[in-house]
């Protein structure tokens, strides 16, 4: 169970099923079995769930290259049913928040990787979601941008905005820095799910040790 207002990390090696699970929770895929609740709603309540979630993917793709940042956000705001007036206000706020206000009117294709990722964050927040799903959000970012991004999650999204963040990553240091709880997935199954402090606080175990043990690689 993911607690409200926490950063929950989904860890696992490549091919573990992290992205598939995120796609199921964001209703992009239907589960073949099992159930889940998002924000108190069963997965069948598509409308309610979609209104309460945000999705942040690595930002290199999924925008339109010859639209400006503002135009891109305007398009996605309409998909979230935001009125024209509200969208304009929200977009200004978000561009300010992610530090892109001065570059809001240049084409997306002219953005650096870091700027693209910041725009992806702004898009993920357009509908003011309660829960934000992120899949490998720092993939492709340089260490400085990645650090800024993690700081933004911790300080702004969680501490200030009280959002719940569900993050899939295979970077253990990222999980260690951000997450309050983690689940470790391997071959499509959750092998372990606990508070991070409970896992690493005893026996001098590092997250790396816990991870290897959970995926059955401890002795290799």
């Amino acid at each position: 169970m993911v607690q409200e207002g926490e950063v929950f990390g989904l860890l696992g090696p490549n091919g573990a099923g992290k992205t598939t699970l995120i796609k199921m929770l964001t209703l992009l895929l239907s589960p073949s079995e099992g159930e889940a609740e998002i924000n108190g709603f069963n997965l069948k309540a598509e409308g309610q769930i979609k209104r309460s979630i945000g999705l942040i993917y690595p930002g290199e793709r999924s925008f339109y290259p010859r639209l400006t940042a503002r135009q891109n956000l305007g398009f996605f705001a309409a998909l979230h049913n935001l009125s024209f007036k509200l969208a304009r206000k929200k977009i200004d706020e978000l561009l300010e928040l992610v530090g892109l206000k001065n570059m809001a009117d240049i084409w997306f294709e002219e953005y650096s990787s870091g700027m693209k990722q910041r725009l992806a964050i702004a898009r993920g927040l357009l509908n003011d979601p309660k829960i934000i799903f992120m899949d490998e959000p720092t993939k492709g970012l340089d260490p400085l941008e990645a650090h800024r991004f993690r700081k933004f999650i911790k300080d702004f999204l969680v501490k200030k905005q009280k959002k719940t963040v569900f993050i899939a990553t295979h970077q253990l240091d990222e999980a260690q820095e951000l997450c309050t709880s983690i689940a470790i997935m391997h071959l499509g199954e959750i092998k372990l799910c606990a508070k991070l402090e409970d896992l690493t606080g005893t026996n001098g175990n590092t997250l790396y040790d816990v991870f290897l043990e959970a995926i059955g690689e401890k002795n290799t």
């Binding site: 598939t20 993917y57 049913n81």
Partner: protein, 270 residues
């Protein structure tokens, strides 16, 4: 209200994108003129040896082929725009983001093609306009309204076929050869480049089952021969029957393909 807001957002997105790829747009317009010029000179060659099969169209091969070309363009865009748009969104990575918003798959499907399909009308108009003004194709002005009516009645048919093709592509992933086969059948047996009567009788049977045949026949009759509604109403009724069957069928097939792709995990591998 959100319906128009979303439709407008898709339209604006595609309009701005198109506007920002100016070279491609200019080349596209140039291609239209070049194709018309090519067939204009071809027609000059043919018109010197009057074909029996063209007497029904006043022996005017250029007017005959121009209607065929314009209609093929319309057909091509209509058949491909659904699958192309969905594939484009997938390759761009935006399909997943869209599907995670409160915007349904049918809204995405229909709104994504708005610009292309409206532009198809402009393009078809440009074919006929350029043909008539610069290359002196003989069309009767009274026929334009009935020609437009025929196109409008044909729209749900080709929308339906386009959606079925998009659904098939969602299921089988690769459909390039299927698309080529479909276009070939429509153009070869539907009377785009030559009158259907030129085909052997056994092959003419195929053309009776293609909506293109009726659409093109009606448009040529009104545009080239100035025939009234009473002359083409049977063709329009047949087209309406095609539309009534194909359009709802396409929505059903697409919905099934979507649910299946979402269940077996292939939705985002379009």
């Amino acid at each position: 209200m959100t319906f128009f807001r979303k439709a407008g957002a898709f339209f604006l997105r595609d309009f701005i994108s198109e506007k920002n790829y100016r070279t491609a747009f200019i080349v596209h317009i140039f291609n239209i003129i070049a194709v018309i010029a090519f067939f204009y000179f071809m027609a000059k060659l043919f018109n010197q040896q009057q074909s029996l099969y063209l007497t029904r169209y006043k022996g005017d091969f250029f007017a005959f082929i121009l209607v065929g070309l314009a209609y093929t363009r319309f057909l091509y865009i209509w058949l491909n725009s659904f699958s192309d748009s969905l594939q484009g969104e997938f390759h761009n990575g935006s399909l997943e983001i869209m599907l995670a918003t409160p915007t349904g798959i049918f809204e995405i499907l229909f709104f994504s093609v708005l610009w292309n399909q409206i532009f198809a009308f402009i393009e078809v108009g440009l074919y006929l306009f350029a043909g008539a003004v610069f290359f002196k194709a003989h069309f009767t002005s009274s026929g334009y309204i009935l020609a437009l009516a025929t196109v409008l009645i044909s729209m749900p048919i080709f929308t339906g076929l386009g959606i079925i093709y998009a659904a098939l592509l969602m299921a089988v992933k690769k459909g390039g050869s299927l698309r080529a086969a479909m276009i070939f059948i429509f153009t070869f047996f539907g009377g785009v480049y030559f009158p259907v009567e030129l085909l052997p009788r056994s092959l003419q049977i195929i053309s009776h089952f293609l909506p293109v045949t009726y659409s093109l026949k009606a448009i040529r009759e009104v545009l080239i021969n100035s025939q009234p509604l009473s002359f083409i109403y049977k063709d329009l009724l047949i087209l309406a029957a095609f539309a009534i069957v194909l359009f709802p069928l396409s929505l059903f097939v697409f919905k099934q393909a979507f649910v299946r792709a979402r269940t077996n995990g292939t939705l985002t591998h379009y």
